[in-house]
Symmetry: C2
Subunit: 358 residues, 2 copies
């Protein structure tokens, strides 16, 4: 097991990465001070891992809360059912919530923990690669509103993240590759040496080699943790983690959420963002080719959807309007070094989209 820390003063917490961690009672014990816990999971992950986590929490009174699988669960009604169950079980302010599942569960259970009785402690136990390398770290929690994704939420840091790479054995192939997109993103945006390592080890990751996976998850978390420690509430540096996401969100919205997995949209988005970086004179042509090649080897799309560039640009403007900010692009100054660019020329954006044609 490898452990690292997210340095946030009194809200600092450890991330444990390894194989076979999910049922280690010692990793949960420090947070069971109140003697009660509630495991929030879904109908897919529950049958696989719920009983093992419950075993690890045997010293506490445990409530099981199983919600449906899928993005639709990140809405008010399922959230309110979590509150119903917590109240029915007389869970108090010292109840530990355990978020067992992927990004949806982490966001939902994390937000429940943020607002139930004005905040209770929680632990993230991510079981998808995407959640292990990205969403479980940093304390961003949210549910969706009809008018926008993640519009209602909170920054609420977990007490710990327990990332068991053995749980990735049950992850569908496509979701594994989708998770790799965020791993690659961390390298491209923040660490050239990690990109080198990924280029050498991408096949090991695709075959779910334990040691390679532990390294990839740990390094991703380290890179993200450094940024989160600098900018907990996303007012500056944290935006760099959105490399590929301005284009990616438009792809997700334009194709109807769910048609493309998040990581797939981000992969195509990173190609567009790399092309934009080239157009703006930051990145070299051979570096853009490296971005494309690595994503391709990871089995990820390197071209946009069958949508007119104008439609994607429209969606980016809408996204900006909903958040009432400017559309900010994250560009690469070189492999491993991202930077923010605002007031980007619309022609360049259009050309970047066209450079990654369907």
């Amino acid at each position: 097991m490898e452990s690292l820390s997210v340095a946030l003063g009194s809200r600092s917490y450890p991330i444990h990465v390894g194989a076979g961690l999910i049922d280690r009672a010692d990793l949960y014990r420090p947070y069971l001070v109140g003697g009660s816990a509630a495991i929030v999971t879904n109908e897919v992950v529950g049958p696989l891992y719920l009983s093992r986590v419950k075993q690890a929490l045997a010293e506490a009174r445990v409530t099981e809360i199983v919600v449906p699988d899928g993005e639709q669960t990140k809405t008010w009604q399922p959230l309110n059912r979590v509150f119903d169950d917590l109240l029915k079980a007389h869970c108090g302010r010292d109840t530990l919530i355990v978020a067992l599942g992927g990004g949806v569960i982490g966001d939902l259970a994390g937000f429940a923990a943020a607002v139930y009785q004005r905040g209770v402690p929680y632990v993230q136990v991510p079981t998808t690669l995407l959640a292990q390398v990205d969403s479980s770290v940093g304390g961003k929690t949210a549910i969706n509103h009809a008018a926008g994704k993640n519009m209602i939420g909170a920054f609420h840091q977990p007490k710990a993240v327990i990332s068991d790479v053995a749980t990735l054995d049950t992850l569908p192939e496509r979701e594994l590759r989708s998770g790799l997109a965020e791993v690659i993103k961390h390298g491209l945006a923040l660490d050239a040496a990690f990109v080198d390592w990924l280029e050498k080890n991408i096949e090991r990751l695709l075959s779910r080699d334990r040691d390679a996976m532990v390294h990839a998850v740990r390094r991703s978390c380290e890179l993200k943790a450094r940024i989160v420690a600098e900018d907990e509430r996303e007012s500056g540096a944290r935006a760099l983690l959105n490399f590929g996401h301005t284009f990616g969100h438009a792809i997700e919205a334009g194709t109807g959420y769910g048609a493309w997995l998040h990581g797939e949209a981000i992969a195509a988005g990173m190609v567009m963002a790399a092309e934009l970086s080239l157009l703006m004179g930051h990145l070299k042509k051979n570096e853009v080719s490296r971005v494309r090649a690595l994503l391709k080897r990871a089995g990820l799309p390197v071209a946009g959807p069958a949508l007119a560039p104008e439609r994607l640009m429209e969606l980016m403007a809408l996204d900006k309007k909903a958040a009432k900010g400017r559309t900010r692009f994250v560009v690469l100054e070189s492999i491993g070094r991202a930077a923010l660019a605002s007031d980007v020329d619309a022609t360049a954006v259009r050309r970047a989209i066209v450079a990654a044609p369907q």
Copy 2:
């Protein structure tokens, strides 16, 4: 105008108390950095003060959000309509939410501010005495759940509190007296000299004398602010502010919420808590009489409702069960000095209730 500060490090904020503050643009200006604001108010307060606050915010793009009056508004559906309106108006992370109204509006708008796009700034403009001396200070926000009051919420400190005592001119008499219960509570729990002052000035407060009101609001806020600064998230000292509330909550629940105003229930609850303090050997008999006399002069009930003591005790146990804590009583060691007491003998509790008979 008198101003004081709630000392919470980077989350510190001023409380301004005076007459005619509600339309002073300079008090809002520092928080309008994003150029947009949303005023959340209700159907009773809106017609009285909305246009004046809007005037004061003239430099910003202003969205008006008017919700129904009453405790029923502190639930998910009205909250979600606030989100609808914020999103429709393209309010972003730098939009200032202005909570214009009493405790319900403060709790609802404050919670909306806590979770809209993971947190936006807000200002409290309380227009009831209860809100000015209590609920607008300290950052506690919440909505109710079918299974319990204030079960879903957040600690989210405002950027400022603007308490205009002139708005109390439109407050119904009964609500004024209910607010005085919390003023008296602050004195009884924390400041003997303030109790002396209240005994001398209670008639001036009942006649809404401006200077007396400014003093009472300011001193209440000072006392509460000191406690909040010590214990922002209510893990210790802040519980002292609940003097009279263990009994009071049971009275509110037992009589059906709304039959007794919060302050009325707290007044009777304080008499019971004073009697309990006497039974436990802390308070002297003549001090209990002082408590009773002051509340009586304020036009507040000093006797419980027509409910069996057993019923109130049942409700207190239920309250405890819902929160999965122990029933803790706040007792008085003397006038102006409250203390926590746990493991209080049930016989003493029963006798305290009986000592304030209907």
